[in-house]
């Protein structure tokens, strides 16, 4: 059973205490109310400070030492969540108005009608319960927002910011997160013997579940990548692991490639992600061949076919998430792959960081004031 509501009654007439206890005895016995008493405002404030959990105050107006109207002003300083009812003389509108202006929730008039008082108390307490629920929802909302901020920071913190480079190649990746935590990620994994794993991924939906799914996808990918030299095998293994217990049907689109720095060969498999684009040394831009894999986490025992591409000196390979192509402007138009290809065509090969910066800049300029609704991720490999 919930604890009784504690009500402080303030009146200088000593008769009131036994009367209240007698008339409210049912509510007291059933554990709904409990009462404490004070003779004037000063005593009332002392009670409020001593007893921590007083829910409401019922106060007379005319009392020695500190009257009821002054008390009303003082109560919020002790506890802003206490609700007050004032007892006034019948028809004393002036004092009633003053009391209401000073934050009284309601009033009852003398001579006291105890049925009316009980109704007024119940209504005040019902309001108090709702008020507390609203407060706790607000607190929960604040803590949820904090949680989302934490998720967003974790998401950012697991993305590498140092990238491998060699005599004839360099890699750069970056993500611009949307306001609401999403599920894009990239990874650049040193596989040894001159091989580098390159991954770009996008988890369905947004929020904390997406962030958690992204974390496990990223960890599983890394684990699998280190033990496997075929991107198709890596995706198959990660897919099967992600499918376990995924009743929510979250999924991740994931493109994984291995770049062999000795030969310039890029071998890749695709789990439902947009295919990377290549800018050739002559400025032409083509997408990598579509290998047609299913997005990961929804169906077990799938095979992921792979393809390879010979990266020539002067080529740029650009991996991206749909946050780039689906960025919207004020007219509701998408940035689109055509604009993206144009930006690539106009960006000279050489520095992958420069390619990413130019792309982010172009998307931002296109979107204008339109808020970014999705994570934007770019991963670029340049061979010189």
């Amino acid at each position: 059973m919930p604890e009784a509501f504690k009500i402080l009654v303030v009146d200088d007439e000593p008769d009131l205490e036994p009367l209240v206890l007698q008339r409210m005895r049912r509510r007291i016995r059933s554990g709904q109310y409990s009462f404490v008493f004070a003779q004037n405002g000063v005593e009332a404030l002392d009670r409020l400070r001593e007893e921590e959990n007083i829910d409401m105050v019922i106060s007379d107006i005319n009392m020695p030492q500190m009257d009821g109207l002054t008390l009303l002003e003082q109560i919020p300083k002790v506890d802003p969540n206490v609700r007050s009812i004032i007892i006034s003389a019948y028809g004393d509108m002036k004092n009633i108005r003053t009391a209401m202006n000073r934050g009284a929730f309601d009033f009852v008039t003398k001579p006291l009608d105890f049925d009316d008082l009980q109704i007024t108390i119940d209504r005040t307490l019902a309001h108090l319960v709702e008020w507390r629920e609203a407060l706790s929802s607000r607190d929960r909302l604040v803590s949820l927002e904090n949680e989302l901020n934490v998720a967003s920071k974790i998401q950012q913190s697991i993305l590498p910011t140092q990238f491998p480079y060699g005599n004839d190649f360099s890699v750069f990746a970056s993500m611009e997160p949307a306001k609401e935590v999403g599920g894009d990620f990239y990874d650049v994994i040193n596989l040894g013997r001159g091989r580098i794993g390159l991954a770009i991924a996008d988890v369905s939906d947004k929020g904390v579940p997406a962030a958690l799914f992204m974390m496990s996808s990223r960890t599983l990918l890394k684990g699998s990548a280190i033990g496997n030299y075929e991107p198709g095998d890596v995706l198959k293994e990660v897919n099967d692991l992600l499918c376990e217990g995924n009743d929510a049907m979250m999924f991740v689109t994931l493109l994984y490639a291995i770049y062999d720095t000795n030969t310039g060969t890029l071998t890749y498999a695709n789990g439902g992600h947009t295919a990377p684009y290549v800018r050739r040394a002559d400025g032409s831009v083509i997408p990598l061949a579509f290998t047609g894999g299913v997005a990961m986490g929804v169906m077990e025992d799938l095979e992921y076919s792979q393809d390879s591409f010979q990266v020539a000196p002067g080529d740029t390979v650009f991996f991206y998430s749909d946050g780039v192509s689906e960025a919207m402007n004020e007219n509701g138009e998408e940035f689109g792959v055509e604009r993206m290809a144009e930006v690539l065509a106009n960006t000279p090969a050489g520095s992958p960081e420069e390619v990413n910066n130019v792309m982010f800049e172009s998307v931002r300029a296109f979107a204008g004031e339109t808020p970014q609704s999705d994570d934007i991720t770019c991963l670029t490999l340049c061979r010189s």
């Binding site: 369905s204 947004k206 929510a248 049907m249 999924f251 689109t253 439902g272 992600h273 299913v294």
Partner: protein, 111 residues
């Protein structure tokens, strides 16, 4: 976003319209679910007037497909608009939910 339904014999046809994204995916799910009954064995998603679907919306379609699979029912999609078709093909979900050019073809494939 809006979902209308009608029955063609023993087949349930769900016609989705508008845009589905993270903001109305739950609503989309409820709208489809409320039309499906336990005895349904074939459900056709007519997506002719669906102009956009985000990954959150795709997840809902997969959830419905999984529910249907549990009750021994099949699902197919038909008459997808270009952008929606592209999303299905790139994500590979056309391998899980087959897509067809006409409602009749979709009905013929699963009923």
């Amino acid at each position: 976003m809006n979902v209308e339904s009608h029955r063609e014999g023993t087949n349930l046809v769900l016609k989705a319209e508008g845009r589905v994204d993270g903001t109305n995916a739950t609503e989309f799910q409820d709208a489809m679910k409320s039309e499906i009954v336990d005895s349904d064995r074939a459900v056709i998603l007519d997506l002719e007037n669906l102009t956009y679907i985000s990954s959150a919306g795709l997840r809902v379609v997969l959830l419905i497909a999984k529910d249907l699979q549990r009750q021994g029912a099949k699902m197919a999609a038909c008459t997808l608009s270009e952008p929606v078709k592209e999303v299905f093909v790139i994500s590979g979900f056309d391998k899980i939910i087959p897509i067809h050019d006409s409602q009749d073809a979709a009905i013929g494939s699963i009923s």
